[in-house]
Every structure is written in structure tokens, then in C-alpha cells.
Symmetry: C2
């Protein structure tokens, strides 16, 4: 079948150990090294990574476990993780869990079978509550969502602060009945709701965040219903790109003008948020950096397992656009 280390050894007239050392940059005389390199090229030899992993007990592989790679946030993160991983000579295995705790469990089992070096994980709230990092042979870095309190490294957005910024921006612009939609499957939703409530309470205003599935469809439905109620909000905050999209669709379908009749703001600076109407006000997350830092933290821990557990909290950036320019004066 394919050429193996033994073939290279005979072609170069050395032992397999020497070939292995050349490949691994071990101590080899210049002459033998040259002969081996010649033979590798001539034969087109490619080491078998399964054999190498089995023998060396290092898989040089990291798992990336997220809900759906098609969520632009995770798309961006994954690209950063890949870049950093390949630079460090590691492979990435990507897993989509669809916010489903059973799939999460299944993929984590798979990661064990792969004997991955580590995992970068964005868990559902359910999973993060009752699972024990100690039950796994590999370190984990949580991204976007907190894992079990203090058990693992994490890189997160300051969700509370971001929500506060968004709410205060809306209030400054003259909106007063601020509604909000949060995802019900992650800790992120709860944290953002926390900031939202805090900011309103500070001004003595009532809050009324609603929790729905973190999808465009669920958000669209929720907003459509909300508009039919007695006192609908005059501004809406949506907790991720998909939900912001759903909210926008519902408002358009109902003919509610933005920003006059309804202010609209949310999370994730996706391409379309800058193109739609006069633009949607959003909190931009440092997506690429989140992936990059997660990978750095993982590599650091692989170097030194005794490192203290770390949480890196990044600030989002408020991008003000037309969708929050303020309510129409005519209503006052």
C-alpha cells in the first residue's frame, strides 16, 4: 500500500529509529539526515499519524463543540481556532450539537475516543449545570457561555455590561418601554437579562425580558405576539444575531416603522445589520479574538496543567446605527 518508515530506512541505509529522529528533529548527524531526507522525498513518504498518535500518546487534536457552525458567531470563532491550531501543529474536530444536551454528551464521548488534547466548548445551560469537568481526561475551555462555576477556563463577553450599554443607549435616545428577547438555552441569555434588568431598575423603569429558543423563527413569533398586546414596547433588544433577524422580520411584517415606532438593537455585528434600512444598532463581539484566546488558553494549560483556572472577559463594542435614532416626536 503506502510507503512506511521501514521503506525509508532501507532506502537510506539506516535504522527506522534514525528516520524517526530526522522526522522529529532529533539528534542525527548531518550525513544521515541528508540521506534520510533524500529517501523521504524520493519515496514520497508521509508518516502515519494514527501510528504516531498511538505510540506517542499525543493526539495533537482539539475538539470544537458548538451548537451550529452556521451561526456566524461560531463560524468566526471556528476560523480563528483552526488558524491557531494548525499553526501549533494541531488538528481540529468540529461538532455541531444543535443546543441538544444528548448530542453534547455524545460528542464529548467521541472526544474521549479520539483522545483529544483538549476541547473548546460552548455548552447548553442544562449541560453546564450538571456536568463534571473532572470526568474527562482532557482540559476544556468554555467559550461564549459559562460552564460549571469555576471548573474550567473560559473566554466570555461581558454580557451584563453589554446589555447595560444597549439599554442606556436606548433610554438616552428617548425610548422608555424597552422589551427584550433572550435565548433560553444558555447562560448567556440569563446574563444579558441580568444587565438589562439592572439598567432599567437603576432608572426606576420596569423590565420585561422574555426567554425563547435562540432562533430567528422563535423570535419572530414572539415579537409578532408581543405587538398584539395592550402596551407593546417602544424599543426591542434581541440577544443574538438570529433573534435580531427574527425581530426585524416581525416588525416589517407588522408594518412597524424603525426607529420611529420601535427602536431595535441587539447583539452580533453581522454583515446585514449594517445594510438594512439605516442600519441596526448592535454590540459587536470580538469573534476572532475569542477563538484565538480560547486556543491560547488551551495550549497554555496543555503546557502546564497546574495553571490556575482563568476567565477572560472581553468587552463588546456598541455600534450605533439608525435603528435607535429615537421614537417619533408625534407620539408625545
Amino acid at each position: 500500500m503506502s510507503v512506511k518508515i521501514k521503506d525509508v530506512a532501507s532506502a537510506a541505509g539506516v535504522s527506522v529509529a534514525t528516520v524517526s529522529r530526522v522526522l522529529g528533529n532529533g539528534p542525527v548527524s548531518a550525513e544521515l539526515r541528508a540521506r534520510v531526507e533524500r529517501a523521504v522525498l524520493d519515496l514520497g513518504y508521509r508518516p502515519n499519524l494514527s501510528a504516531r498518535r498511538l505510540r506517542s500518546q499525543h493526539s495533537q487534536t482539539v475538539g470544537l463543540v458548538v451548537s451550529d457552525i452556521r451561526n456566524p458567531f461560531f463560524t468566526g470563532v471556528s476560523r480563528a481556532v483552526e488558524d491557531a491550531a494548525y499553526q501549533a501543529g494541531m488538528r481540529v474536530i468540529l461538532c455541531n450539537t444543535d443546543e441538544n444536551p444528548e448530542k453534547e454528551a455524545m460528542y464529548l464521548r467521541l472526544m474521549q475516543e479520539e483522545r483529544v488534547s483538549g476541547v473548546i466548548f460552548s455548552p447548553t445551560r442544562e449541560t453546564s449545570q450538571h456536568f463534571n469537568v473532572a470526568g474527562f481526561d482532557f482540559p476544556m475551555v468554555m467559550i461564549d457561555r459559562t460552564g460549571p462555576a469555576g471548573q474550567a477556563d473560559a473566554v466570555l463577553l461581558d454580557n451584563r455590561l453589554a446589555s447595560i450599554q444597549l439599554v442606556e443607549h436606548l433610554l438616552d435616545r428617548g425610548y422608555s418601554r424597552i422589551g427584550a428577547l433572550f435565548g433560553n438555552t444558555s447562560t448567556t441569555g440569563s446574563e444579558r437579562n441580568g444587565g438589562y434588568e439592572e439598567a432599567l431598575k437603576l432608572r426606576g423603569l420596569p423590565s420585561g425580558g422574555r426567554f425563547v429558543a435562540p432562533t430567528a423563527e422563535a423570535a419572530e413569533l414572539a415579537v409578532a405576539q408581543w405587538l398584539k398586546e395592550a402596551t407593546p414596547p417602544d424599543a426591542l433588544l434581541a440577544s443574538n444575531g438570529l433573534m435580531l433577524l427574527g425581530a426585524l422580520r416581525a416588525l416589517r411584517a407588522a408594518g412597524v416603522s424603525i426607529p420611529a415606532r420601535m427602536g431595535l438593537a441587539g447583539f452580533d455585528n453581522e454583515i446585514w445589520t449594517g445594510l438594512v434600512g439605516e442600519g441596526l444598532t448592535v454590540i459587536e463581539q470580538p469573534v476572532y479574538q475569542i477563538g484565538q484566546i480560547a486556543m491560547e488558553m488551551l495550549l497554555a494549560r496543555l503546557e502546564d496543567a497546574s495553571l490556575p483556572i482563568r476567565r477572560v472577559v472581553l468587552n463588546g463594542r456598541l455600534i450605533e446605527r439608525g435603528s435607535t435614532r429615537g421614537p417619533s416626536r408625534s407620539e408625545h
Copy 2:
């Protein structure tokens, strides 16, 4: 360290061969099977996939080599490939090549080292021209872009037809000077240009497609310059989602009204194309199916290497939106 098959064997009082057979659904008596399964559960045993792969000579892994996972087309494809792969008990290794032939070569070498079962590949034109599928030990399925003529399975859009549909639609709507932007790194761009020229020639109209890097930035620049020329087009066709975005930005920056002063249409039904202004007319690609079919073709070939080489060509779907409603009458 971690529990291995030998531990399970002693715990169950059987040989390692029997444990292996239970795991692989081989012929084992009900009694021994039960004892082994008990032991597997008790010990939390997880087979080591590197060892399994080395011994069985089956990696159960496919490589997915694309230019950038953040291109929504490839994001969608990758999700479909993952889904199909995991269902077939296979793993996916994702590689981003950034339209760079050197990275492509590097990752294909890596695929050899992984001893992948097969690769799903979207090559640059340069790579596809002078590379030999026979030089690899694994089968490939090309997606989105033709590989070396007739050497490998492929699943493609009918790019020529799609371009024709787009051009005829623009002509029907009253546009007459139709410009076009195509990516210069793939066969896809050439094919789409072919359809574009053919459709115009049929009506006796001049064509003038321009080839640029398939990025939003390059397209934006190209359109900005085009607008300054003596006779700019009255409609523009852009060959993928990123270029369509760039074109849109350039038109907005120049204050050119769509669809009155300039019709705009392109490829890829990305979310924002339906949200912007009165919507952009696009050809929708069956993204998920492309990934799904690619994986099916790969699995079929792994079953039977003697299968004839196949090309699956899918039709796009024209979605007519406001951006091509027709030029303003005032000009006539």
C-alpha cells in the same frame, strides 16, 4: 491512565478478542456479550480510535478542503457534510486554504498523513489545472468548482445556465448595458462568464465581464472605478455573495439608486440579500444538498472504487426581488 480493552477483558473474565467482537458487533454469545457490556459501563471504557485506525487501516475520516469556512456557501456545505459524516460514523477534518495553492498542497499532504478515507475539495483554478488525482491514495469529490477534467467525481451548480437566467431576467426587465464581476481564482467564475457572454451574444449585445479577486473589497473597488468610466453599465451581475456585497457597497457609496439607475443581481441567497432595500435578485444555490450529495458520492465510491466518475450538476433557483425591477423610464 485511561482504561483499555485489556482491563475490560479481565473485568469481564473474557479475552480481549471477545471484547473487541462485542464492540464491533461480531459473533458473541449472549452471556459473554452481557458481561462485557456490563464491564464497559462499569469501567467507563472508551476505545482508542488511533489504535483502531492503525490496526484496521480504516480512518473513517473525511477531509473538507475549502477556501474559507466563513464564506456562507461553504459554511452551509460544511454543516451538511458534518451531518452526513457523523451519521455514517465518520469524522470530518476542516481545512481553510484562502484560495492559496500552497495551502491547498499542504493540506492535501496532511490528508495523506491522516490516511483519510476521502476528501471533499473545492480547488483553486490553478491547482485544479495541474494536479493529478492519481497522486493521492484517497478518492476526492470536487464541489462548487470543477477539478481536473473528468478525473474526479464532482457536484456542481449549472453555472452557465444560472448566468443565462440572470442575464435574460435583466434584459426582460429593460436593462441593456449589463456588466458583470467574476472571481478570478476558480473555474466557477469562468463558467459563469461563459453563460453571461452567451446570453448577451444571443441578443446581439456586447459583453464585458471583469475578473477580480472573489472578495467584497475587490468587488467594491472594481465597481467604484467602473462607475467613473464613460459608459457605465445600467445593470450589474456579481458572481458570489461576497462580490455582491462589495458591489452593493460601491453603489451605495456613489449614491447610485437601485434599481432605477442600476439593476443589481448575483449569486447566493444570503440572509441579507432579502433584507436590503427591496431585496436583491439572486440565484439561490442548494447549499445543503451540495454538501449532502458530495458526501453520498464519496461514500458510494468508498464502497465501490470501480464506479464510473460522475458529475452531478444542480440547477440554481432564480429569486426575483426589487433590485432588478427595471431602469427608470425617465432615461428613455
